[in-house]
């Protein structure tokens, strides 16, 4: 499951999850890295199963469509 929104929205969502998780391991410190659509128009972030977005209105989708995958060099 992924949330789609603006860079600010997905970044805020990630910070919210990080606060909730309060990681205590020595390595792990972050929930997810926002991913930008190749056309630059929107951002996505992996949805956490227990931390729903309740404020910013991010769009929840099951999977990212193929157009989110960067085009690799031939």
């Amino acid at each position: 499951m992924w949330y789609i929104g603006t860079r600010e929205e997905v970044t805020a969502y990630n910070e919210k999850v990080n606060e909730a998780k309060a990681y205590k391991g020595s390595i792990t410190s972050n929930w997810a890295n926002p991913r930008q659509h190749p056309d630059g128009s929107k951002w996505a972030i992996v949805a956490h199963s227990t931390e729903p977005d309740e404020e910013s209105g991010l769009t929840l989708v099951e999977e990212l469509t193929e157009d989110w995958t960067p085009i690799e060099a031939p």
Partner: protein, 567 residues
């Protein structure tokens, strides 16, 4: 007890590691010795932390021994280690040219106490800075007790052959490895960890090493990942913390001779009526939980005559309570895939959505939820060479699994790391220059995803299902039909050509004008499958590549295939 005390060139006694490349050299009887003769040997330790001369001795149990050797530097000072490989113990020694003995020698000693009786491997080994160095050795000895006895010469073995080591890893055979990521042990001569693992139950992390066979220590791994973790314990003595749906909760209630219980009171009306904590949030996914609780259901209820303990998903039912007017203790284990809450739900017979004509009640106490299995995510895949090129990912959602739902991930009966094909990857920083080689054991079913990569480099599975060994502007080798099964991938750039091999068979070759790059990713564009080993040499390994035959082979590829049994 040691043989060949002055003949370090005798390879039946002093076995040299690595055996195939970066092997130490011994220039016998080339240097003045402490007795004024010329029987000291100059040993060239290669630029490899596990470069060593090793001898196997059979020792008694629980006994103190002293290992001694005379040594001096050729010039200045030089560090080396005296090591008991079996005990995973060592001491660093610094040889000089100005030792107290004749010709500047110093007699160095290293004490240890054995465990069980049996063979022990002792070594004179490079220190951990992995620079090439020359050390002059003479007069090695091992005696019982805590001090070195007067030196006595011991002759070499006559006849026979060198003993096989207790374990021989890839690094005991091949030197010059730039980065080594594997779930098998690189060398028996170092105490190493394979991975650092985060368990999903409480996000605790732990390093995981190897067992005596050089395999990933799966016992330690699963014990850590599946350790019992308390996810919820109730205390209703003064307050309650459950989440009620179509009902209300109250703490500090007394019923059936028990105090400090929780009381759930339903609404009057129709709907699902339940209460409970949320101990499974983000923890389910097929993991197991032990559920303990005490439930009291009065017979005076107008409609509610059953309490079901479950997650709200049909397959995740813990127990159903129909006994009335006495406390019933529940102690069950349930596998949770989808649920997040532990529901104590009111039923009227089989009716999940009852209609109540008045407030119905039930009581709860002593709720304990213990997670008994978990996922094990890899946060760090250690570079076992000691070169410090560890592969890491600090982001939870991008960490691949080595334990899934409490079960070890395996490929062809050996431990493996499972990449999800979505965003799992590791960051690395491994420089490569013209003349390099990479070897990988993996299974990847996703087109356009790569075992190794950088913004310029793609080593793995091309979008067209071919093998791909490509650095933009330098070489682009593509061909063959990429396997959907476990495969040994080899890419060698020899300064003129870049060649791909799969399971020892050449797939494609193209000319190369490669200069340099830095590999930055394991699982570029997200492999879908398992990775078990990646070996990177910043040197051409065409001469050492070897062959693959069923169950074995020669050279590097034979070593890999012998362990992983790919072909």
């Amino acid at each position: 007890m040691l043989k060949a005390s002055e003949e370090f060139q005798q390879t039946d006694d002093w076995v040299r590691y690595p055996t195939n490349s970066q092997t130490p050299t011994v220039n016998a009887d080339s240097r003045p010795d402490p007795n004024g003769g010329t029987t000291a040997d100059q040993v060239g330790l290669t630029a490899n932390t596990s470069a060593r001369l090793q001898q196997t001795v059979t020792l008694s149990a629980s006994t103190e021994y002293t290992f001694s050797v005379h040594a001096r530097a050729v010039s200045g000072t030089v560090d080396f280690r005296m090591r008991n490989i079996t005990l995973k113990d060592a001491e660093v020694k610094t040889a000089t040219t100005t030792g107290p003995l004749t010709n500047g020698f110093t007699r160095f000693t290293y004490k240890f106490t054995t465990g069980a009786a049996g063979p022990y491997e002792l070594a004179l080994q490079n220190d951990s800075n992995a620079t090439a160095k020359d050390v002059i050795f003479w007069g090695a000895m091992l005696n019982q007790g805590g001090t070195a006895l007067d030196y006595e010469y011991a002759a070499p073995t006559t006849g026979g052959s060198a003993p096989a080591p207790a374990y021989a890893g890839f690094g005991d055979a091949f030197g010059g490895v730039t980065a080594y990521y594997s779930l098998r042990k690189f060398t028996e001569a170092e105490t190493l960890n394979a991975i650092r693992v985060r368990r999903s139950s409480d996000d605790a992390e732990q390093d995981i090493g190897f067992d005596a066979n050089g395999d990933l220590d799966t016992t330690a791994l699963t014990t850590f990942v599946n350790a019992d973790v308390n996810q919820y314990t109730s205390d209703f003595s003064s307050t309650e913390d459950l989440i009620e749906t179509n009902g209300t909760g109250a703490a500090a209630q007394s019923v059936g001779g028990v105090d400090d219980a929780y009381k759930f009171t339903t609404i009057t009306g129709t709907g699902q009526m339940f209460t409970g904590p949320s101990p499974f949030s983000g923890k389910g996914g097929g993991n197991s939980f032990r559920i303990q609780a005490d439930v009291y259901l009065p017979s005076t209820n107008a409609e509610i005559d059953k309490v079901r303990i479950w997650t709200g998903y049909g397959a995740e039912i813990v127990e159903e309570i129909t006994t009335t007017d006495s406390w019933v203790s529940v102690d069950q284990t349930v596998e949770v895939v989808n649920g997040s809450t532990l529901r104590f739900q009111a039923f009227d017979g089989s009716d999940l959505t009852p209609t109540t004509t008045e407030a119905n009640v039930f009581y709860l106490k002593n709720i304990v939820v213990t997670q008994t299995t978990a996922d094990g995510a890899v946060t760090t895949w250690y570079d076992q060479t000691g070169n410090g090129n560890d592969a890491t990912n600090a982001t939870e959602s991008e960490q691949p699994l080595v334990v899934s739902g409490g079960t070890l991930v395996t490929e062809n009966s050996k431990a493996a790391i499972d990449f999800d094909g979505v965003n799992d990857a590791f960051a690395i920083s491994v420089g490569i220059t013209s003349g390099f080689a990479v070897f990988g054991v993996y299974k990847n079913t996703k087109d356009g995803s790569y075992l190794l990569g950088s913004p310029n480099a793609q080593f793995g599975r091309r979008g067209t299902s071919e093998y791909r060994f490509h650095v933009a502007g330098s070489f682009s080798t593509n061909g063959g039909a990429h396997s959907n099964n476990q495969v040994l991938f080899t890419g060698i750039e020899d300064s003129a050509n870049a060649t791909i091999y799969a399971n020892g068979i050449q797939q494609a070759q193209a000319a190369s004008v490669f200069s340099s790059d830095t590999l930055t990713l394991i699982s570029r564009v997200n492999v879908l499958g398992n990775i078990q080993e990646i070996i990177i040499f910043n040197s051409d390994q065409s001469a050492n590549r070897g062959t693959v035959t069923t169950g074995g082979g020669t050279g590097i590829e034979g070593n890999i295939n012998t362990y992983f049994d790919i072909v």
